[in-house]
Amino acid sequence: MTKEAAFAEGYAAHYRQVRGLCRQLLGSAERAEDAAQEAFARAYRTLPSYDTAQPFAGWIMSIARNHCFDLLRRRGRDPLVFGTEADETAAAETADADGFGVVLGAERAAAVNAAVALLPERYRVPLALAYYADADYDEIAVTLGITRTHVGTLLCRAKQMLRRALAEDLS
């Protein structure tokens, strides 16, 4: 199969997934559309160096992810900073951090997505990588340049904040 054909096929098959990842990482549906288009445009430009044996999905998702990181860095605020492991652990262990009583359920998808979009970047990014892109802890640690345990702490904090947000939503 020619690279052009592989690209066309990959575009149709994976566009929604790429756009979804961008939406989760950037926290905005409109920016996600532009980011997804830009990711595929970049992929198209580097198509000559793409190895057809390599799975398309992984390739395009990593291009999209890197583009989103660039966008997040460029947004003017501090570059992606994930706090210190110690601070995050301490925050996770405060008395009512867990937000007991509310469980993250799939039937409240809209509310969950809205809450995720409002999370600070340092929680939203690992969350998106873990639960949308299905990356495991080691992959996330390498991508973000932090330790495995730090990843665990951030994900724990992310889920705690989501539970709180949903609890407030309900009440």
């Binding site: 756009r19 288009q37 652990t89 951090a97 993250l104 998808a109 949308y132 994900l155």
Partner: protein
């Protein structure tokens, strides 16, 4: 043993705890109610989160992928084509023949005539217009014309505010440094020169409304939405606006461009160059030199001291011309009040379109030259017509293939609804009007002559390719093959055949030809000006 931190619970729920630590946690949970409750409630969260995050994926449709157009490539293609074919007159006449007749008045692309005109203008400028063309004004004129053309296009085609585009023009004009030649600048929403005011300098006036009632001892450059000159200008007047009214006296020449350009009760010591949609030279207007006008409707009721040349859809002359009258247009009419001392030459579409009313006085010869010989009625009966069309089809197909091979983006454009068709047509029309106007004015400036001619040529090439682009869209619409999209060559050929048949139909063929060309031209212009086009051109 104290309860493990929530972090460990969270990692356990994600399946990310190493086996040993997981076992330790499970042992603790067996004995701790609180931790067991936590573990139970967090157990299904991973799956739940995954489901929730993916739930909104399918809502929005997938846009078409359009790889970024290579603007430089189109220029390169056009230049190559020009370089290869540019020296052959067959090439130019073939190109000119493919431009629909109805658009020809916009593109006086009769190569021989155009070259003659250009030479006439250039020599005229050299010998009688040197006072006007200082180096400063050359540069200013080029920049202003480009800005004006952009303003026209923006106003007509986009919905962006006219004021916004106008602001760009204003910025361009006011940002120009005064190169050696110092002149006065006045800008603002309302720019006026009072009746008792005298400006001893060249004046540059730019604003929404420009009203000059006083005297300018120098040149006057006026731009804006509405320009009215009632006072006296000893030098030249260069003006571009939506409406330009000249009611005063101008010692030098007048170059005016606008939607409506009217000269009433004015005396112009030099020449008049007018560009616009509706041009009017009122009964009291007096031009001592030549008058050259380009427009849609031209009404000449005043007096011209030397020759009058008009390019228009309808050209009506009711005044006096001390030299020759040369008119290009669909209809050229001389009213009973017309008095022409020289010849009257009308280049019209068909016999009878040059009307000399009884009462009009023409001292020289009257010559009606037909632009297109009257043999349309019989052409369907000749074999030559069909072979000619097949040759044209072949040429369009080959060049179209080249175009789509070089610019894949053009293969996939589509016009999903009537709105998109209208928009593209509008853009095409705006571009087709502003391009020759801008190019011609560029030709007037000695510096810009090669650029102007190049702009003409590029525009013609673009118009030529317009039908290939439209043919491709039509072909794709028609070819709904179940096994996936057909090759672009097949759709191009199918589309071209359909287009060729349609544009050669009697009566409606001409109009359809114009519409298709404008739509295709609009698509090309849109793609060239868009940085990145997402989805179809809707």
């Amino acid at each position: 043993m104290s309860c493990p931190s929530p972090v460990l619970h969270s990692m356990y729920a994600d399946g990310a705890l190493p086996a040993a630590e997981a076992a330790t946690l499970e042992q603790h949970v067996a004995t701790c109610t609180a931790c067991r409750a936590r573990m139970e409630s967090w157990r299904g969260e991973r799956e739940a989160l995954r489901g929730a995050l993916h739930a909104l994926d399918d809502l929005a449709p997938i846009p078409d992928f359009v790889p970024q157009p290579r603007q430089g490539g189109f220029i390169a293609l056009a230049l190559t084509v020009l370089a290869l074919g540019g020296f052959s007159t067959t090439f130019w006449s073939g190109l000119a023949a493919s431009i629909p007749i109805g658009l020809r008045w916009l593109n006086p692309f009769d190569w021989g005539e155009l070259a003659e005109r250009a030479v006439d203008l250039v020599t005229f400028m050299l010998y009688e217009g040197t006072a006007m063309w200082t180096a400063t004004l050359n540069i200013i004129a080029v920049v202003i014309v480009v800005g004006f053309a952009g303003w026209l296009a923006a106003a007509a085609a986009r919905k962006r505010t006219v004021v916004g585009a106008f602001a760009v023009l204003l910025a361009v004009v006011t940002a120009l440094p005064s190169i050696g030649h110092a002149f006065e600048r006045r800008e603002g929403e309302l720019v006026t020169v009072a009746a008792d005011e005298t400006i001893n300098d060249t004046l540059l006036a730019a604003g929404e409304t420009v009203s000059i009632d006083g005297n300018v001892n120098g040149d006057l450059l006026a731009f804006g939405r509405s320009v009215t000159v009632r006072g006296n200008v000893t030098g030249n007047l260069i003006s571009a606006a939506e409406t330009v009214r000249v009611e005063g006296t101008v010692g030098g020449s007048v170059i005016g461009a606008g939607r409506a350009l009217s000269l009433t009760n004015t005396r112009i010591g030099g020449d008049l160059y007018g560009f616009g949609r509706d041009l009017e030279l009122g009964a009291g207007a007096d031009v001592s030199g030549n008058a050259i006008a380009f427009g849609q409707n031209i009404d000449m009721d005043g007096r011209v001291g030397v020759d009058f040349t008009g390019f228009a859809e309808t050209l009506t002359i009711g005044g006096a011309v001390d030299g020759d009258v040369v008119g290009y247009g669909a209809t050229v009419t001389l009213l009973p009040s017309a008095r022409v001392s020289g010849d009257v030459i009308g280049h019209v579409d068909s016999a009878g379109d040059l009307n000399i009313a009884s009462g009009a006085v023409v001292r020289g010869n009257i010559d009606e030259q037909l632009v297109e010989p009257e043999e349309r009625r019989n052409r369907y009966l000749t074999v030559g017509f069909y072979t000619g069309q097949i040759v044209r089809l072949g040429a369009a197909f080959v060049t179209g293939l080249l175009l789509f091979w070089l610019f894949p983006v053009l293969r996939d454009v589509s016009l999903p609804d009537a709105g998109a068709v209208l928009r593209s047509g509008g853009i095409g029309l705006a571009a087709a009007v502003t391009l020759p106007v801008a190019a011609l004015v560029l030709c007037l400036t000695i510096v810009g002559l090669p650029i102007g001619l190049l702009a003409f040529a590029l525009g013609a090439v673009g118009l030529y390719f317009s039908k290939a682009v439209v043919a491709q869209i039509v072909g794709r619409r028609v070819f709904q093959a179940p096994q996936g999209p057909p090759h672009f060559a097949a759709t191009l050929l199918a589309g071209l055949v359909i287009v060729m048949v349609v544009i050669n139909l009697p009566f409606i063929g001409g109009i359809v030809d114009i519409v298709l060309t404008l739509v295709g031209f609009g698509i090309i212009v849109s793609l060239l000006t868009a940085r990145f086009n997402r989805g179809s051109l809707a």
